[in-house]
């Protein structure tokens, strides 16, 4: 793997490693253009990133279609909106034009974010390279035919040549990025405490809505119980082999890079703690602890699931146990977000 020394970047861009790509891109890019107060958890919270949904009747890689996050792109969009930052997002039909316009920004010394597919992402380990198209990275600079890339998952800067970068920008399949690039305005004012406070309040309100008010039985906190009830039927309905594959897929969606179920809960817990500095309400700290607890329970559930897909467990009682764990998490998250909703009403 090529790793680039930080000091080689002429425009002074600082690479930032993050737990989740879109948070990381949002935080690092806004920092570069002048907003230093934002942290990864703050971007995630203001952008209302936490979610849960299992889309019924839909399959991904032949398994259940589960997401632990909001739609790609929303965290950046919402965070910028909350802070009054203009955003440009472009999609392209022509790869040549997409590369040319990126080059023009880089020549002007302006790091720019791109949505890419990971399948042809050369610096990623092969084991992780599925056709997942909602990955985000920042193109920092161009040196000869090499692009300097700040990928929030990586510990250092990496490079791709123009052929490789064009290929991942025009990856195909679900959520095809279509060359998408996005960036905030050039010279941003530091966010005021007032803006961040208001962003926190609206971000929490929106996340409460997403977790509590989505119609239907399969989205938001109650959607977790929907999956839990489904799991109890998997052994009979699908047979052992397929049921194991389904559970492995659930855990992959939960803990994989770019998704993170348990991991997302911990980021949200960190957000509520950091939010307390701008919005001193003790409820935020208490609810942060509750969210931490559900994150831990997500991890415990993943261990139970792994017992099944590793073949150590496999009776109906084991599936029931797994289903009940998600039903319990669903109740705890419903309770935590109801309390958060009540608490945030008092905020001014």
């Amino acid at each position: 793997m090529d790793s680039i020394n930080q000091s080689t970047v002429a425009n002074g861009f600082h690479h930032l490693q993050a737990a989740h790509c879109e948070n990381g891109v949002t935080t690092a890019l806004l920092k570069h253009y002048g907003v230093h107060k934002l942290t990864e958890p703050m971007a995630f919270g203001i952008g209302s990133g936490l979610f849960y949904i299992q889309l019924p009747f839909m399959k991904v890689n032949g398994g259940p279609a589960i997401s632990f996050r909001t739609m790609p792109g929303l965290i950046f969009k919402r965070t910028c909106k909350a802070l009054g930052i203009p955003v440009t997002r472009k999609k392209y039909v022509s790869p040549q034009k997409a590369m040319q316009e990126l080059d023009e920004r880089l020549i002007a010394g302006k790091p720019t974010a791109c949505q890419v597919g990971v399948f042809y992402l050369t610096y990623f380990p092969k084991e992780y390279r599925f056709h997942f198209n909602a990955h985000n990275l920042i193109v920092v600079d161009k040196q000869g035919d090499d692009y300097i890339i700040s990928d929030p998952i990586m510990e250092t800067l990496v490079t791709m040549n123009s052929y490789e970068l064009q290929r991942v920008r025009f990856a195909k399949g679900a959520f095809a990025p279509r060359g998408q690039m996005y960036y905030p305005g050039d010279h941003l004012n530091e966010a005021t405490d007032e803006q961040i406070r208001n962003g926190i309040i609206s971000g929490i309100k929106r996340n409460c809505r997403d977790m509590l008010m989505i119609p239907g039985s399969f989205g938001g906190a109650k959607g977790i119980a929907y999956t839990g009830r489904n799991i109890k039927k998997w052994k009979d309905k699908l047979g052992d082999d397929k049921a194991r594959g389904y559970l492995a897929q659930l855990v992959r969606m939960q803990e994989e890079i770019g998704t993170g179920g348990g991991g997302f809960r911990f980021i949200y817990g960190a957000f509520l703690q950091q939010a307390h500095a701008y919005l001193p309400m003790d409820e935020l700290l208490q609810i942060s602890q509750q969210i931490t607890t559900t994150g831990d329970k997500w991890r415990d559930a993943a261990i139970q699931a792994s017992g099944i897909y590793k073949g150590r467990l496999g009776t109906q009682a084991d599936y029931d146990n797994m289903g009940d764990r998600l039903i319990e998490i669903s109740q705890l998250e419903t309770k935590a977000f109801k309390q958060l909703k009540e608490a945030i009403k008092k905020a001014k």
């Binding site: 890689n61 610096y123 990586m154 195909k172 992959r252 991991g263 911990f266 994150g295 991890r299 792994s306």
Partner: protein, 132 residues
């Protein structure tokens, strides 16, 4: 998750980049730390690859038996399906299905073979004879 509970197992990603994880420190405050990987995750990933590999093997047998052209084998090898393959090549799905018949595949133009070969990251020769 507490800081001392962070799994430090061997993981494919951890060998290249340790993952940032949010954990609760001794003072109850969140901080970040790194994880090399978690067996529970690695095992889930291995299950997915096991499914991919059995599809690849099934496709390989079909190609060896003359029931399908090598395109089927490479499609499975690249974890693609007809939709993704169609999106990358610009061919209709039914065209690709035809190309997957050995009799049609053997008459494909050099240009079409090259297109597939580039997508599958192999040479045209390997595309035609994947198993030597």
């Amino acid at each position: 998750m507490k800081k001392e509970e962070i799994p430090q197992d061997d993981g494919a990603l951890g060998r290249i980049a340790k993952e940032v994880t949010y954990v609760v420190g001794a003072d109850g405050k969140y901080e970040t730390a790194q994880s090399t990987g978690w067996d529970v995750k690695t095992d889930a990933l291995n299950v997915a690859w096991g499914e991919v590999n059995s599809k690849i093997e099934a496709a390989r047998q079909k190609v060896l038996n003359g029931e399908a052209s090598p395109l089927l084998y490479f499609m499975e090898k690249k974890i693609m399906d007809l939709s993704i393959l169609s999106a990358y090549t610009g061919y209709w799905k039914w065209t690709i299905k035809k190309h997957m018949k050995p009799s049609v595949f053997s008459k494909l133009s050099e240009e079409k073979l090259k297109k597939y070969a580039e997508l599958f990251e192999v040479g045209v020769d390997e595309l035609k004879k994947p198993f030597g």
